[in-house]
Symmetry: C2
Subunit: 398 residues, 2 copies
């Protein structure tokens, strides 16, 4: 099991891209490495990389690669999310797709061509770096297509598939060995109206990514510090395995939001979440799970306003690079579980040490809300898990 | 008469703020000075200056002041537009007022407080510089309140007045000697629904600004290269004097858009426009007019996509800092007219060398569309002007 960290710079958050401070970057990455992390996920801002549709700022690409290389020098492997896009409640879009220039982010041919060009440029840079693992198209970029978005982009699943294929193809074309993936939030798994569907989530890209946030469904349902919450990441991994059997899974985001995890209990939340994922105590690890990447490295500074309250305390490190109790728990988890090797395939019909539950799923995702924490499946599943049997899920097409 | 230029960097346009090139900046400003300009208007980008509501990036402020000081070193006086905001069809808003964080730019108390803080910081920097004349709140920032805007901000005239007073007051508080103004497009003069009204345009700020673009009304009405077009800037100045008698006027933007001025005729358009403003041939200059600032210094590079076609050829200089025929005409105009001194007050009821026309105007601007080029007043006015009598306009309240 690989353990990593989503890198949120301690000074200036991602606004630090405006005037990067190489010394602080090196300090941050050393502190992350000292937590036992073996990799980081790095997030540039799209408007800075590509301020005009046909112009990528070489200085901003250089700034990004300087951080990538600093991570490599710190002994960390690196993945870059290209299109941000969206981070911690804030949307970052270049002016050429907004307001008077508003165009569909997923279906406008010129916009998609420009996005693909940016992916190509970043992939081309990363391909030259031994310490780079791959790229992700963008952090939960598909939230722009969610019906709950304030200014939703309109498209259908066919458009979503075409967009993913174009951008993933752009990465593979220049970096065949690079791992190209895409990422998304709960809506893809649970919102019947989201045009990005579970079969796209688990059918395109070199592996399946999972972002696990208890504030979405299980927190409101079960309440703060409920024992069910630590099983949500595992549940998402099982669901991902049901939709995409045989795929490797990367738990790309998991964090302890203060809204549903009491501050003093976040280390315990981390330990128990990782235990659940890794099959601690003789159980089976989540099928295909190879990496766990914590959100995030550093607390957002109180100098910065208007973040959701949770963002100010999600870090493993504080604003002075001191390890928080949550960071200590992370370090211990990396030691305890680094030797865990998840089974490469999800459990099928063969003999198994755990139950296998058939889940009726429509391949087009039209009834995916039936698997959300607000419906019965999760209730039953987590009850079983808490009782010692962690059911595998197997999709039955309906 | 002072002549200046709106500075549009030749390399990277305003995206050059991402990675400023001091050598190119010095070259650009020297070329502008060589055109006979005595001042420049400088445009930072709001999202770079203030990426979070409570955090102004000191590096971006330094970048701005480096350009201000380079202009001073080149022998140019400087005014800075603080909130961009809006430039050449592109809107630039920080993430903290967009999408999930959308808030009213003019009436949300926290947003306005942040804007005022940015004005204060920039004013405080400029106050220390002998070569700085003043600041403008932002380039046509009030377009965000226009009903034709794709995502219009809702407010009334009372809210508009309060916003202007707060921000202009912020500038004056730290820089009492600095000239603090605001700017706007045709809508303020001609659109009955624009909450920023002519009486705010001509009642707040240290002088009245005028932006003259023939593509708005007179171009479509009279056609390309029509002789009426060169009188539009003068008409706007006369209208500004009618609304705000006794105020100094700064023609802050005037340009030759290829959509209505044939490329080969742009030097003639410039000459005749400036002649009309300055009362060439024995006439009266526009009342109160003290400065003419051409839009713009440099053509937008064809490397940059999606600008309105006109933006690629508005410059006095080309992408290699060579003076275009339009720039030669500008230089000649500065020589011909620099000694012109406009009468400080608009013509009243006293004896005059020209007609005075009474214009019925409702003080609240509710019928201001009656003065637009699509109605009869401008037709009559320009006919008289072309015949040799340039009527002064006098508001009669109705």
């Amino acid at each position: 099991m690989r353990f990593g960290v989503n890198y949120t710079p301690r000074s200036g958050w991602f606004h630090s891209w405006l005037h990067p401070d190489p010394v602080r970057t090196v300090e941050d990455l050393a502190a992350i490495r000292a937590l036992g992390a073996d990799h980081v996920r790095v997030f540039p801002l799209w408007p800075l990389l590509q301020p005009n549709r046909t112009w990528i700022d070489p200085g901003s690409v250089d700034d990004l690669m300087a951080v990538v290389d600093a991570a490599g020098d710190a002994g960390l492997r690196v993945s870059v999310d290209v299109l941000q896009g969206h981070l911690s409640s804030y949307d970052f879009l270049p002016s050429w797709v907004q307001s008077w220039h508003r165009r569909n982010l997923f279906t406008d041919p010129q916009v998609v061509a420009a996005e693909a060009e940016l992916v190509r440029v970043i992939a081309g840079e990363l391909a030259q770096r031994e310490h780079a693992d791959g790229l992700c198209l963008g952090n939960e970029f598909v939230q722009f297509a969610a019906s709950r978005h304030p200014e939703p982009q309109v498209l259908d699943e066919s458009g979503a598939r075409a967009w993913l294929r174009t951008l993933l193809g752009a990465a593979h074309a220049v970096w065949p060995d690079g791992q190209a993936v895409h990422s998304f939030d709960d809506d893809v798994w649970f919102d019947d109206s989201q045009p990005f569907t579970p079969r796209l989530a688990t059918g395109l890209g070199d592996l399946t990514t999972v972002h696990s946030w208890v504030f979405g469904g299980v927190g409101p349902r079960y309440g703060t510090d409920a024992p069910e919450l630590v099983w949500f990441a595992r549940y998402l991994c099982e669901l991902a395995a049901a939709w995409g059997p045989g795929r490797a899974i990367w738990l790309q985001e998991i964090g302890a939001p203060v809204s549903y995890v009491s501050p003093g209990r976040s280390p315990d939340f981390l330990r128990r979440t990782v235990d659940a994922l890794c099959g601690a105590g003789g159980g089976t690890p989540a099928p295909g799970l190879g990496s766990i990447t914590w959100w995030c490295s550093h607390d957002v500074s109180r100098e910065l306003a208007d973040f959701p309250e949770i963002e100010y305390s999600l870090g493993l490190l504080d604003g002075d690079n001191r390890t928080k109790p949550l960071g200590e728990a992370f370090r211990e988890a990396t030691v305890t579980h680094h030797a865990v090797s998840a089974p490469p395939l999800p459990v099928g019909g063969a003999a198994t040490d755990r139950s296998v539950w058939d889940v009726p799923l429509s391949p087009d995702g039209a009834d995916r809300s039936s698997t959300s924490p607000s419906n019965g499946l999760f209730d039953d599943w987590v009850r079983s898990a808490l009782a010692g049997d962690v059911p595998a899920l197997r999709a039955v097409n309906v």
